[in-house]
Subunit: 727 residues, 2 copies
């Protein structure tokens, strides 16, 4: 983590970008294009900043006095916007440094996105200049930024949104893709009357990156949520810090992650030269950190806007209200598809409702109000429905007039549970607009499609649950597992590339993760004695740091029943391993007690290039591998997160609970093992590259878990991760 003083300087730079009292536009022209739109955008949106076009060939630009260069400016401006050709950018930025400007916005392309050596070198130099000078940079290859409340639209975009000021602007938008921010997102937000407070397109992120801007926005008390469009994280750990800050502040980070598939990443890398990580890992990480990942443009905005409403749901029991049986059923379908409950209406509530509605409509859940949804009884009907103690959220779909809208808005302010609304009318027909505009201006979360509303409800519930648990756990200490890091370090210090099975298990044991009874033996005679001591049947495995795939090398024999079998097996695996890898050093063999009857799982850790150590849990065996049933978390995980991992692996909860009358398995011990492995990987993150327990066997309740095989690979001296950081 950076020292706080650096952070404060960074935030001052960003503050200057969003609230400039003076702005230079380097490369301003009157021609159409980026250079020609900057000044008109500022003027037309009512900027109060002092504006200085910089263009050596003109005295005036659109009637404003122009200066030959930045060094000639009458003041050290808060923000220098650079819109010159790529080869002129660095000279212009050096002049900005010379003149002492506070911050810089670089629109020009021609940097790392070209994927040429020249482009990358230019970007590296820009980054170094920004860091050395402390004059922080947004861009290059970006579309600029806006402070809606401050009436500062420093962007060359053809589309801008000053009208948003009227839309209760409480959302911060950070997008690496400028076109995404200034086209579909801005248009959708305006059409739906969703107000951004800040907008920034960060482009190549040579210096400041998405996380920096998100952190800045989180500090603004008027911001209720930040929506982000990210193709790749420059600094994964900083993003995790940012997610922690957002969660603690109760201002959700809603994320549209681009480049999640190979085809998408192909586009992404040619665009902002970002690195896209494993999507499965990132998905799990977002869930773990309370980051709300969405699937499309509309969801990004509607989900972010939902958090203007501050009340949180206590559970996932949905009350569904509409004025039609068909629409109510459909909403209920959508809720159920999202894993939400739609409980039967409480008897008392049903009784009260029947008194008013008689046999018209349906006093049930879903409730079909027919004409009562727009009639004079609606406030009372809604009041009765909201009183149901068996519902945690209410989702209504309708299109009524102003009275209906106002009733819902008022009820939403009083209610002790969230009310979400799906607008099923026109968004353009004049007859509908009065009611629609009232709802849009309110804090009632508003949606336009049943499936999107149900999805948002699921996300609302999950977000608050993650947040509340993380607050509750903040003060709690870690489970007192054994954590003997010194033993681990000693074992790893001696190794070059990795540890053999025996050594790997010693490392695991230092964190309390037990293997089977086993003994390392240097020769056949010792092995026979060991087997006698452990008790037949046993397993015999070669031990060699040079052979990581023992089974492939013919180096494993299971179910050895007696001394004769042991001797035969010893000779066979030695011969086989030597022919498989003639140069391998084989210090000896491992004699293990043969254990069976457990559920076999894979537990492993690896270093994510962006986020550091990550733990995986998956089903073992052929079928499981074909099914790709696995889940991930950032290390370390606590007990509750370990339990969540178990719940996320397809079929695993059912297997552990004793499917079809089989015995129950030791779920508690599995969770403890996950916590211990994650702590080991986290504590030794500088030394362990990856760790595999394959299989980890989970035995019957109270019988614990056992690492039947294990493999620790050491971290190389200079890792990819460190290289990226130094880049």
């Amino acid at each position: 983590m950076k020292p706080a003083s650096n952070d404060e300087a960074k935030f001052r730079s960003i503050h200057a970008m969003f609230n400039p009292a003076s702005i230079a536009i380097v490369g301003a022209t009157e021609k159409p294009g980026y250079g020609g739109r900057f000044l008109p955008n500022l003027v037309n949106t009512g900027s109060s900043a002092r504006l200085y076009p910089v263009n050596p060939n003109r005295d005036q630009i659109f009637g404003v006095r122009s200066y030959p260069s930045v060094v000639d400016l009458p003041e050290a401006v808060d923000l220098a916007c650079i819109v010159v050709s790529s080869e002129q950018v660095l000279p212009a930025f050096r002049q900005c440094i010379e003149r002492g400007v506070k911050s810089a916005l670089i629109i020009s392309a021609g940097f790392a996105e070209l994927a040429t050596d020249q482009g990358r070198a230019r970007q590296a130099e820009l980054r170094q200049l920004a860091r050395d000078s402390g004059i922080r940079v947004c861009g290059p290859n970006c579309l600029g930024l806006a402070n809606v409340a401050g009436k500062s639209w420093t962007t060359p975009s053809t589309r801008i949104g000053p009208d948003m000021l009227a839309f209760n602007p409480t959302i911060g938008l950070v997008s690496q893709s400028g076109a995404t921010a200034y086209r579909p997102l801005l248009c959708t937000a305006e059409d739906k009357r969703i107000g951004f407070r800040y907008m920034v397109a960060t482009g190549n992120e040579a210096d400041l990156e998405s996380s920096d801007f998100i952190q800045y926005m989180l500090r603004d008390p008027e911001i209720s949520a930040v929506a982000a469009v990210v193709e790749g994280f420059k600094d994964g750990e900083k993003f995790v810090e940012t997610a922690d800050m957002a969660r603690e502040a109760g201002k959700p980070l809603v994320l549209l992650k681009i480049g999640r598939t190979e085809a998408g990443a192909r586009g992404a890398s040619s665009h902002t030269a970002s690195m896209t990580g494993s999507d499965d890992v990132q998905d799990a990480l977002f869930r773990q950190k309370g980051v709300i990942r969405v699937d499309d443009y509309d969801e990004l905005l509607e989900t972010a806007a939902m958090f203007r409403m501050k009340i949180r749901p206590r559970g996932k029991r949905m009350g569904v209200i509409s004025e039609s049986g068909g629409m109510g059923s459909f909403m209920a379908d959508k809720c159920a598809e999202e894993g939400l409950d739609v409980p039967v209406l409480s008897d008392g509530v049903r009784g009260q409702l029947l008194e008013i509605m008689g046999d018209r409509g349906s006093a049930a859940n879903p409730a079909d109000l027919t004409g009562f949804g727009t009639g004079p009884d609606f406030p009372r009907v809604l009041d009765i429905l909201l009183s149901d103690g068996e519902q945690d959220l209410v989702l209504m779909s309708s299109v009524g007039g102003a009275m209906q809208a106002d009733t819902i808005i008022e009820a939403s302010k009083q209610a002790r549970k969230p009310i979400l609304f799906t607008w099923t009318g026109s968004t353009q027909d004049a007859r509908d607009l009065d009611a629609l505009r009232r709802l849009q201006a309110s804090d009632v979360p508003l949606f336009y499609l049943p499936a999107k509303a149900a999805k948002a409800a699921r996300r609302l519930i999950a977000y608050h649950r993650t947040r509340e648990l993380s607050i509750a756990e903040a003060g709690a200490t870690r489970p007192a597992a054994r954590r003997d890091l010194e033993t681990v370090r000693a074992a790893l210090a001696e190794a070059e590339t990795g540890l053999d099975e025996y050594q790997s298990k010693q490392v695991l044991a230092a964190y309390g993760i037990t293997g089977v009874a086993e003994q390392f033996c240097k020769n056949r005679e010792d092995a026979a004695k060991a087997a006698e001591a452990i008790g037949y049947p046993v397993v015999l495995k070669i031990v060699s740091a040079d052979i990581s795939h023992k089974t492939e090398a013919g180096g494993v024999r299971l179910g050895i029943k007696d001394a004769e079998g042991l001797e035969q097996a010893y000779d066979a695996i030695m011969a086989s391993a030597k022919s498989y890898a003639p140069k391998a050093i084989i210090p000896g063999v491992l004699v293990q007690r043969m254990r069976s009857g457990g559920i076999e799982l894979i537990v492993g850790t690896s270093q994510d290039p962006q986020f550091g150590p990550v733990i995986m849990l998956g089903l073992g065996g052929i079928l499981a591998e074909a099914l790709k049933a696995a889940t991930w978390r950032l290390c370390p995980v606590n007990r509750r997160e370990a339990e969540e991992m178990i719940d996320e692996v397809r079929a695993l909860p059912a297997l552990l609970a004793g499917f079809r009358g089989s015995q129950k398995f030791d779920r508690k011990a599995l969770a403890e093992a996950l916590v211990a492995v994650s702590e080991l990987a986290s504590d030794a993150r500088d030394a362990i590259e990856s760790l595999d327990i394959n299989p980890l066997a989970v035995f019957g309740e109270g019988q614990g878990t056992t690492a039947l095989d294990a493999l620790v690979v050491c971290r190389p001296r200079q890792t990819l991760h460190e290289k990226r950081k130094a880049d």
Copy 2:
């Protein structure tokens, strides 16, 4: 299938409903409400029909002469619209019959949807009157119908859409839910300029049902697709016939199925009293029949509208075009999430593009055109991109001006591959509307969200593939499997409730589905001889039609190695079975060859209450059951459909192909077994209630499949299905 003459009479009735030259409104008033809106809706939309309000208390309604009753009308009208209280409906309908009206529309509620005996009886009587008189009925409890081109809006809805006439109306809309049709669907269609040619809300479907109206609309040459909202199918077989007709006509049936979850069905049953079937089965059936099932209101309309474009894709290789790297990547992500390919751009195409674009944008797939998407080079750039022979569809996302829109519309007319377009601009901002309206008026399939466009592309590809295969297969004969129905009938004729394992396998064998070598034996001595002949190891099982769960009854022993073991096993299973079911008749035992090493699957058939015999394929074993990996088809299936079933079962294709170096398994034999089982279930649909092969073992390539256990349950004399039909 009904005789054609009946169908023609039915279609004449429906034609009269949609094209009435004369209309009676029974229950017309001037008060607000259903009775008061009918006449104004007709007049305001320019109906040319002769209009006859019927109300005994008034001489005139809105200035139009009113009649005391239907029998007093001066002519036998084409359509009688009944809007009276529920108890007056049957008397009014009887008068309609008396007066010889051609068809009736019953808006009034108070029938089966009340879920009372009275309501159900009233509906049954209405149905009988309609069937006996031949005066066909739409409703009751419905919201009426409209013929947009015929300017006939016979509906009491507060919202109607005569403006649709200008929107190229080629879609038929059939919805059981009136509020869904006349609110979200009508509003969305109007907002997006999608034109319905017909609209009908069918309500309770006492007489005419959704399938009837769909069939009628399919006959109109101007109809390009039918969109349907269905809560339950009155007659599943008729729906399947309708789906076949739609597929043959090349006019897709796009379906929003409501009540797919338990919570949704709770709403549905209180609404239209429809029966909702197993969602998984229906999903598979829709896929099989080329019915396009969608997930939300917008998808229903946009997907139906897509089929105004007639060109079909040859494969699933997508070309993605945008003016932004971020947006292109995102579209590519969405395509990949839908299982579509986004291949690398062909070298030649890339070269031509680079000549124009240089280092601006990205000459790749996804293509980032930057300013070339709206500049003068756009027609040429688009032409080059469309020439890529490695792409089957093109998906462009943009918001340009009229020139861009016209270029795309023109290219779409010439192109030999479909071009889909995602509008990323505003739908309300005046600056964008010119281009948007041009696109909306064209046949270019138009979407507003990347995820929806990609989903539609996937559906377009799947639809045409299913359709083409079904056309190609129409003339092909069934595989010449053994089909000895007489043996099957003889076996079933003797049985009361079901067959024992031995008998069940005889039935299977009559259709060429083989079991292991086995022998039925009446006593211990015979069993020992049989085992000797078959060869140890063997399996021993009790045979009893009274014990269907043999394993639970202790009636199965595997891996018997010798004569001594066989005798012990015989005594043990007999004792065990007798104590489990003291009254069971146990005619003997089965001695089977012990076979192992195959992949064990479950193959079964059952009678879907709406659609008849359905075949299921699933993974066997504990893990598979926990994973719910299974798929379904309507019986019979052909070879290609059987192959599709195999591909749909999670992990099965990988297992059969020899996962991680194991042997390959006999996929061909599995497909053949599925075909045979489906033909058996189809041929003997009147006699077999269900059939289970659990497990069916699939052995190595060329080694075939074996039914290791089987159970046939007979159909009761009067089945649920027949009861419903008679209802």
